[in-house]
């Protein structure tokens, strides 16, 4: 924390912490700094809100994707068909 011990961070850093936080990878200290930044920075508050919303949407169980093994199988079958045709 020698270099990064400032309480007030730039917007770039704040956004970086916010992104990290979406994946629960921000450290405690980073979260504190992010929240202090959000108190006085309107733009980052907005970014933070949409970012949270996005995470919530993507986590929605209705959003599903085909798992990789099935995809590989599909690819293989498609290749087979292609060589037949």
């Amino acid at each position: 924390m020698s270099k990064n011990n400032k309480i007030f961070v730039s917007c770039t850093d704040a956004n970086h912490f916010c992104d990290k936080n979406q994946y629960k990878e921000a450290t405690f200290w980073e979260k504190v700094k992010l929240n202090i930044h959000l108190i006085y920075c309107k733009a980052c508050r907005k970014y933070s809100t949409t970012n949270n919303k996005l995470t919530k949407l993507v986590k929605n169980p209705k959003v599903i994707s085909i798992d990789q093994s099935t995809k590989d199988m599909m690819k293989e079958q498609l290749k087979k068909k292609m060589s037949e045709g």
Binding site: D19, T50, N60, I64, K75
Partner: protein
């Protein structure tokens, strides 16, 4: 001159999730949806010559998929599937059989259809992912939907962690903007 070209090698990576989400809200069964997507790819392959390049590849595949879904409902309504499902739906004699019109015809109502499409979250999200540059899309998907570690992704793509976060940041900004337009 055709602007849109066709390339079946990339189909599964690029469109399968989008098509899958499109299908799942209509057939409500994972296995069937996967089969239908697969059949769509096959059908696309077969009629590749007919692709004029007027529409984008994805639009074209969706139009095939729609036909496949309709076929699927025709099939299950034509024989014993009919009897099986009817029992579950309602048991009093009066309304028996009514479900066929309600349930099956509705999703294919042409006027409502385009309206409905954008309101389906999974479709909307994969639609937006499809608009991202390829590398961003891949990394965003791995990180956010499939939940890989930062380190693992860095190794696969041979990039540094701060590099990854920049990509994620750009992807998230673009995604938020895209969803803002199409979903919120």
């Amino acid at each position: 001159m055709s602007i849109n070209t066709i390339n079946p090698d990339t189909w599964v990576d690029k469109y399968s999730d989008y098509l899958f989400n499109f299908t799942i809200v209509r057939v409500n069964d994972k296995e069937i949806a996967q089969d239908l997507v697969q059949e769509t790819f096959f059908a696309g392959l077969k009629s590749m010559k007919n692709f004029k390049g007027e529409a984008s590849e994805r639009t074209w595949l969706i139009s095939i998929l729609k036909r496949k879904i309709i076929d699927h409902y025709r099939k299950i309504n034509s024989n014993k599937g009919k009897a099986e499902v009817r029992i579950n739906y309602t048991s009093d004699g009066e309304t028996e059989g009514d479900w066929l019109e309600e349930r099956v015809a509705d999703p294919f109502d042409q006027n409502a259809e385009s309206e409905i499409e954008n309101k389906e979250l999974g479709v909307a999200i994969h639609n937006c992912i499809g608009k991202l540059p390829e590398k961003q899309a891949q990394i965003f998907k791995m990180k956010t939907i499939e939940g890989f570690d930062t380190e693992a992704i860095c190794n696969v793509f041979d990039i540094t962690a701060s590099n990854l976060w920049v990509i994620i940041h750009r992807a998230r900004t673009a995604m938020a903007e895209c969803l803002e337009k199409n979903w919120f």
